[in-house]
């Protein structure tokens, strides 16, 4: 019976409605009520996600759960939704992340509780909208729309320097997207439709393709973020509240990578082919250079942020290797692994980085400092917390058996197909990642107890253990048995490869 329901609309609008309800019901006096209501909506969303997963058909690349309503007929704008194997896992991820954020805020947010929860619920709806939209204008609306709750969450619940970070964040991401709108309008004129799938068929000359590619690149590269437009992220992360950081790392960055897969590569395949070396170079710079920068950080949250950027370099690397690989081996089948690796990396990054941000949030809430030098010996006072954190750290450095390994492994292995030196540079992350992660872990958790604040720490409680256990199960689940996740990708990635490898000239 559920198969006929407008599942995607429910996924988008239920949390939004929930957010509004929470706003009305809540108020700081009724914080508990707001929390339970938010949790209810978030669980409800998880439930619909599971339904979508159950009814999802792995064997077709066609969009599923399609909804299509004419919205503004005068301009041909539709309210069109649908998912394939690329977007559904991301939607699942969104629902799961929001659930974690809401649980994590239970005991940490005491001011403007209902507003906080509403912000994240509404944001969830918007992000799902981004991943589900089939109409490019609808996509654009969600894309820009989610900036507002994000901006608010940094601006209101952030730390000291929050307004600089919030404005920097907003300007960077907003300016990046402005050109994307121009590109979308141009494409609309070409094919007389706002459907993304219609854009795939638009015949475009090389010059036009390059221009469109660059317009998209600005929007997506800022979001990913790629070097050199990444500097907003460490600032945004350091100032954002824990939940904001988690959503930033786990979801917002994925929107950029998703954009490359949904727009850049299939719409402008020739430009992607011509500029792939550029994208690969930027990705490798992210992996190596940003990784090195992470080593230099004295601020724990900045370190995690830079590590997050460095890992996203793997995503973009995996996305753009297909041209070199197919040119070299002539076999499309060889190109799958890079792309699918990138997609696994998108998911697993959410659990590695997201979980570390969440964990850091718990430390920050107790000690109110971000400087690594103010920590030390926490493993003594918070053994359970430290045990969980090492799991996240290990996933972050791609230890086999954790989710972080799967994507890196697949991407490094397929990079070798492309070029020895690409694989070489990418594999450097094995060393660099271990250096910054373990050095940080050593300074924060090992050693003697640094000061009386650390000595007075209490270990995490049941709720936090629950949150961390959920993440840990996911990390090991994907790490030990990624096949079900990969199975969701195969057909859609095959179609994407077909679209991205053809020539429009």
């Amino acid at each position: 019976m559920f198969a006929d329901w407008p599942l995607l609309s429910l996924l988008i609008w239920l949390p939004a409605i929930g957010g509004v309800l929470v706003l009305f019901v809540g108020g700081d006096k009724h914080a508990a009520r707001a929390r339970f209501l938010a949790l209810f909506f978030s669980l409800l969303n998880m439930f619909f996600c599971v339904l979508a997963y159950i009814y999802f058909d792995n064997h077709t690349y066609k969009m599923q759960f399609v909804e299509n309503i004419t919205w503004i007929p005068a301009y041909g704008i539709h309210y069109a939704l649908g998912v394939d194997g690329i977007s559904l896992p991301l939607i699942f991820l969104t629902a799961f992340t929001t659930l974690l954020v809401i649980l994590a805020s239970w005991k940490t947010i005491h001011q403007k509780v209902s507003q906080y929860l509403a912000t994240f619920l509404i944001m969830q709806g918007m992000v799902i909208g981004v991943f589900a939209a089939l109409d490019s204008l609808l996509f654009y609306i969600f894309w820009e729309g989610m900036l507002i709750p994000m901006y608010l969450s940094i601006g209101i619940w952030g730390s000291e320097n929050r307004s600089y970070a919030a404005i920097k964040f907003f300007l960077f991401t907003f300016m990046g997207s402005a050109l994307m709108l121009v590109a979308l309008l141009y494409l609309r004129i070409q094919v007389n439709s706002f459907y993304i799938l219609d854009f795939y068929e638009a015949p475009l000359s090389m010059t036009v393709q390059v221009l469109i590619f660059v317009a998209f690149l600005l929007a997506f590269a800022v979001k990913v973020p790629m070097w050199p437009v990444h500097t907003w992220l460490p600032d945004a992360h350091t100032e954002a509240p824990a939940g904001g950081s988690v959503v930033l790392a786990a979801l917002m960055l994925k929107m950029g990578a998703y954009g490359f897969l949904r727009f850049s590569m299939p719409i402008t395949p020739d430009a992607s082919r011509a500029l792939d070396w550029f994208m690969i170079t930027l990705s490798l710079i992210a992996v190596v250079y940003i990784g090195m920068i992470a080593i230099a950080q004295k601020d724990m949250k900045k370190l995690i942020a830079y590590s997050s950027v460095s890992h996203m370099g793997f995503v973009t690397l995996g996305c753009f290797m297909l041209y070199i690989i197919t040119a070299k081996t002539g076999n499309v089948l060889d190109a799958y692994m890079g792309l699918e690796g990138a997609m696994v990396q998108m998911i697993s990054h959410a659990f590695g980085s997201g979980a570390m941000f969440l964990g850091f949030g718990m430390l920050y809430e107790r000690l109110h400092t971000r400087l690594i030098s103010n920590f030390g010996g926490i493993a003594k006072t918070m053994p359970i917390f430290s045990a969980f954190f090492i799991i996240f750290a290990l996933s972050n450095i791609g230890l086999p058996g954790t989710s972080g390994f799967v994507g890196e492994f697949m991407i490094i292995l397929s990079a070798f197909k492309a070029n020895f030196w690409i694989a070489f540079s990418a594999a450097l992350t094995l060393i660099i990642g271990a250096v910054y992660t373990l050095w940080m872990y050593k300074r924060v958790f090992y050693g003697t107890i640094a000061n009386e604040h650390v000595a007075a720490l209490k270990d995490i409680g049941k709720l936090e253990i629950l949150i961390f256990s959920l993440i840990t199960i996911t990390i090991f689940g994907i790490g030990l048995y990624p096949a079900p996740l990969l199975d969701m990708f195969h057909v859609s990635v095959g179609h994407l490869l077909e679209l991205s490898l053809r020539s429009k000239l």
Binding site: I293, G377, P400, V435, L438, K442, T448, Y481, A483, H490
Partner: protein, 662 residues
């Protein structure tokens, strides 16, 4: 039917330590110390029983090689990766060795770790380690190998840092992981080459295709390399990290910061031999690259001599044994290099027993002296610790390769086969190994005499007066039992196993699991001169290694028991030599300067200059400033005076007219 049993037995073998680790790790606090170690030990005992069963099936009843995938880990495009198990003779030898030593070390830890606040965590880690080690040796493809490989590295990291409040332990654990990661960097690239050229990571399929790839050439930045050589060398980089080969050996001495049972289990008997196992397992690849074999040989032999020499000037008893481990790993690698894989694995087995014995005996000394590891503060302990004394002596004799102890058979075979070999570098390697035999017996008997003989130098740290002699007493039962149980194979294992392992020609125990190319088959030449273990022991005095070992023992006795002033005297006249060894050939200083400070400097530079100055200050905030300057300038135009605007309009009109008319 039997296949079914093999699968069940191997699963039980792998999973029961994991279960033990999970229970004692997650529920350890609740169920208490006693229950924790019981669970872990029972898990290990079951695993050991399963290992014995497998060994019997494969070695005695000759069941065919069991090779099966358990489940599809993941697939992508035309590649698929499985989790699978391979049970052949090499596997069973490794599995039996690992579970045997691990079981004894578990028992030993009851005594050694008594009273530690994180007692249950320790047992959990040790069982977890065993699980990963078993995956490493039982996997049937490179993915499983890598999984186990990184897993044991992780547990090693956790256990070196077990007493993490100590700065040295925290640093040592990090160093171990990162140096190993440098090796893994090569390893994963090696796996990438395998996948790129074979299209699969499954051992059986890779080995089947290997001969066809022998002549293949790969082009890296314009230079031509043989594919198999590149592949083998990259994989060997991984082995260098784990098996502490020069120059990636630097982490092993610092791993001694971990509790002693760990040094015995992980950093002597099992994990560090993973690289040796890997090269032997991948023999069908290495055999097609003489370059790779030669590199393995030279690196191994160099380590065998030069890392062993470091033990001569070390005063920490555990570190002496650690350097000895590196040296012995060098012997095994050298054996791999001359394609005597069976000799390498045989030495791995005997070494696991006598080296674990030496470490555990050292641990017994350390416990008796209340965690004193400095041999300058020991001496004359044979009176107080008779059982430890005897067992340590057995271990030392085995290590010094005196007949008929276990080490004799394995090490002598290695030296002999290297002598026969004509792999490039074999002559150099032979002399390294030969001198190494002398160095080995010198350093281990130096340690032996310093610890158990001579005058008593025990000093109480607080009061600087001699220990009341009543305080030093033999360790408890749990500590002594494993010593005795390890001493037995340290004596007899070589005698018993040498014929099936090395000298049975095509029927040799490992025959089916390793591949030796006909042109590198130097072992066969030895078989013809072989007349049984007893004869081998009796004729040992006809070979130089025997005399070198004896000379080493004699010299140690003279220097450290009979004429102690010789030692001071020698040091004075060999100052340079002593300095070089004391500074460990400068590896640490070099790494510290080049890598630690270098990387920190570069990353600081990237951050301060690249990100903060150029991108943020110039480009990002610069754009912001530029816009505000520009708007300040534009603001001046909007003066609000009507006559300004009219003036501009008239100017514009003129310009327009001029353009139209002209």
């Amino acid at each position: 039917m039997i296949v079914h049993h093999i699968q069940t037995a191997s699963l039980i073998c792998i999973l029961s330590p994991l279960l033990g680790a999970a229970i004692s790790g997650l529920a350890g606090k609740r169920i208490g110390n006693r229950a924790s170690h019981t669970v872990a030990i029972v898990g290990l005992a079951i695993s050991f029983a399963a290992a014995i069963y497998l060994f019997a099936q494969v070695v005695l009843y000759k069941v065919p090689v069991y090779n099966a995938d358990l489940y599809l880990w993941g697939g992508s495009g035309r590649f698929s990766f499985h989790a699978g198990i391979l049970v052949d003779s090499l596997t069973t030898v490794m599995v039996t060795t690992v579970t045997f030593v691990s079981l004894l070390v578990h028992v030993y830890s009851i005594g050694y770790m008594r009273g530690d606040p994180a007692y249950h965590r320790f047992f959990s880690y040790m069982s977890l380690f065993t699980f990963f080690m078993l995956v490493l040796v039982m996997g049937n493809n490179f993915l499983m190998l890598f999984f186990g490989w990184e897993g044991v590295g992780l547990v090693s990291y956790l256990l070196i840092g077990f007493w993490f409040e100590r700065e040295s332990a925290a640093r040592g654990s990090m160093k171990a992981f990162i140096v190993n990661r440098v090796g893994d960097f090569g390893f994963i690239l090696g796996i990438a080459v395998v996948l790129a050229y074979f299209g699969t990571l499954d051992y059986a399929q890779v080995f089947k295709q290997a001969p066809s790839l022998a002549g293949e050439i790969v082009d890296i930045s314009g230079t031509q390399f043989s594919v198999i050589t590149v592949m083998a060398l990259l994989l060997f980089v991984g082995a260098m990290g784990k098996s502490a080969q020069i120059p990636l050996h630097v982490w092993l001495p610092e791993s001694m910061e971990g509790p002693t049972p760990i040094s015995a289990l992980i950093h002597a008997a099992t994990m560090v031999t993973a690289g040796v196992y890997m090269v032997a397992r991948l023999s069908p690849l290495f055999e097609f690259s003489e370059v790779a074999l030669s590199v393995v040989l030279v690196f191994g032999a160099t380590g065998a001599l030069f890392l062993g020499m470091l033990a001569l000037v070390e005063n920490d008893i555990k570190r002496v044994i650690a350097y000895s481990t590196m040296s012995q790993l060098g012997y095994m690698m050298a054996a791999n290099g001359v394609s005597a894989f069976s000799a390498a694995i045989f030495h791995l087995m005997t070494h696991a027993c006598f080296k674990a014995l030496l470490f555990l005996a050292a641990g017994s000394v350390i416990v008796a002296l209340h965690h004193q590891q400095d041999m300058r503060k020991m001496g004359g302990l044979r009176k107080y610790l008779p059982i430890t004394y005897i067992t340590f002596l057995i271990g030392a004799l085995a290590l010094a390769a005196l007949p008929p102890f276990a080490g004799f058979y394995s090490k002598d075979a290695i030296i002999e086969v290297v002598k026969q070999a004509n792999t490039p570098g074999a002559t150099y390697a032979y002399y390294c190994l030969l001198i190494g035999a002398f160095v080995t017996s010198l350093y281990i008997f130096r340690a032996f005499f310093m610890t158990f003989h001579g005058e008593e130098r025990m000093v109480d740290d607080q009061n600087e007066h001699k220990h009341g002699h009543g305080e030093i007493h033999e360790s408890e039962y749990f500590i002594l039992l494993p010593l005795v149980l390890l001493a037995i194979p340290s004596i007899f294992l070589g005698f018993m196993m040498v014929t099936p392992m090395l000298y049975s020609g095509q029927f040799s125990l490992l025959g089916s699991s390793i591949y030796v190319a006909p042109e590198f088959d130097f072992m066969t030449a030895l078989v013809t001169h072989y007349d049984g273990p007893a004869y081998m022991a009796l004729t040992a005095f006809m070979h130089p290694p025997f005399w070198l070992s004896v000379l080493g023992i004699l010299m140690a006795w003279c220097f450290y028991v009979k004429y102690p002033y010789w030692a001071t005297y020698t040091r004075k006249y060999m100052e340079i030599f002593y300095c070089v060894l004391k500074n460990k050939y400068g590896f640490d200083a070099f790494n510290d300067f080049f890598f630690v400070r270098g990387v920190r400097g570069i990353s600081q530079f990237f951050y301060r200059i690249g990100d903060v100055k150029i991108i943020d200050d110039c480009m990002v905030n610069g754009t912001g400033r530029a816009i505000s300057h520009m708007s300040a300038w534009v603001r001046k135009l909007q003066s609000g005076y009507l006559y300004h605007y009219v003036f501009v309009m008239i100017l514009g009109l003129f310009a327009f007219l001029a353009w139209v008319l002209l």
